[in-house]
Amino acid sequence: MRSEAPIHERTRGVLAYCVAGIWFGARVEEVAGLMQAERPAPLPHQRDPLSGVIAFRGTMVPTFEIGSFLGIEPMSTSGQTYALVLARGNDRFGVMVPEIPRLLPARELREAELSEVDPELAEMIQSVFESGDLRIHCLNYWSIIDSIMPRAGARSAAATGR
């Protein structure tokens, strides 16, 4: 899991957040922005972990709850939820997190190996960083999003067998 390149070349920082005592993170290069999203607009025939859509800088962004996806119930203790908007090209996707993430610069991070106690999360975890006592798991969000909402082109290609 450890990459050959130094950490400061692979990321400039990590936005870390805690869900049920487990710290997760997202590299700042993947994050388009943060916003407070208390009541996402629900979608028709919406199923978990989707939570609805939010308006982010004039665009409609679908969101899902990371806690619900990971099977962790309590999302927020303060009643407020925040959306971490990820960007890949023109695609936007929102991850609902229970608290305001912390911005940890690369200088405060050191790369760590995935522990053997997390075998189930191994496929979803892209990298693991440590900052002080914190052990931050950076997830492969786009693979998660693809598993939740497959791309229309990929689904049609699979259906036609081309």
């Binding site: 290069e29 922005g33 943060l34 407070q36 305001i100």
Partner: protein
Amino acid sequence: MAATKHDTKPGPIPPASRRVEESSPAWGALTVAVGSALAAGATGHLVGGTPGWVAVGVVAVLGGAVALLFAKGPSVSQKAGLQQGGEAEGGKSRGAALLELESIRRQIDLATTTLRGGRDPLAVVSELGMGPLNGLLQAVRDASTTGPVVSRIAIDEAELVGTDGESLPEPWPADADAPPGFDPRLRAEALRGIDAMITGLEALSRDLGRPGSAVPVTESGRATRTPAQLVDDVVHTAADGIEDLAAGLMRANELAGVAERVTNRATLLALNAALEATRSGSEAFAAIAEETRRLAEFAREATDTISRLANEIEYKVGETITAIHSTSEDVKVAVAALSGATPLSTMASPEHRESVVALLQRAREVRKTLTATMPSRAGRKPRPGSGGPEGGEALPAAAPPRAPAGEDSRTQADLRPAEESAPMREVPPPIQMATDLAPDTADPSSRGETPPEHSLLLERLKPAPGQPG
């Protein structure tokens, strides 16, 4: 005493004597002297011999002196003549007799005045013991010790003496040993006061003997507010004020929540600026992001401080309200105990009962002593409708037997209710007394134990370990 019936004060001058004095005092004296000589002649004729002639002289001199005395003494010219010694030898004798008569008259006045004051003239005025009235006054004293000369009929507080009571002096004091001024009227008042004190002590002993509470009532008949109620009102007022303060603190907490939301927005703004700076690599964006982050941190610290202080104050106010409500009951109990609203049986110790009983017994003894020193009213008919010994209330022929002072049976008897001990001077049987004063097992104070509410107070008053005294 019969002698005192006559008014011995010098009366007004008779008109005849006044005329004699106005016309010529010398002629008046001469007329009396002639009368005296005739009387002396008669005396000498009756007595006979040399003593008879001496008696003639004496009667003559006294007659002249009496004449001058009725004429208010000699005139100024006569006095001057006597002083100058220009008159005859008979004039000197008349002057001496005049002085002697004047002295007798003054002694009579003194004796009369003293007797009207109810005092012994021989004891008060020493001059009377050596004068001519000594024998007469001694005879009056001897007669007074044997009994009243004039029989009296009691009519309420006053007494009718003979047919002319106003002009008669008081009888000779039979109780000469009594202090001056301690007359039967004062003694009756003292007896009434002691009766009232005994009644009050009996009521107090009843309260000590059984549980009960007295609710103070105003003159209009409406119950007043007890100190416990006043304390309760004060406590409730304080609790209401603190609850209002707590409501204000809750509102402040809500405003602190709003400030926290603003701080969160500032933090999001700082994070977004930092993300943009990181993505773009712009130094300017990085500077703006850094300042925004500092602002967000400052706002968060302030918001956290406000929220923490508000929570602490709210917590302490809640504790204070709880403490006030929990302490109010203890305060009410304490105030009630201090003000006497608590039943006496729960707060009076056995020592208090003993003290009250001792006071009651002492009052009864004083009353008995006063009753024994009262003049004998045997034969007097009690007047209907009058209360007390002076009003004719029949005193007990003999006091019922009492236990010696300090004996338990009598002490316990004094704690009986009034309806059981009436009439007041009757002493109940000792067995009943002992039963009434038997320790009440339901009353903690009678068992020498501390009542529960007092135990609570004592626990609060106990010094903490290590705390001085």
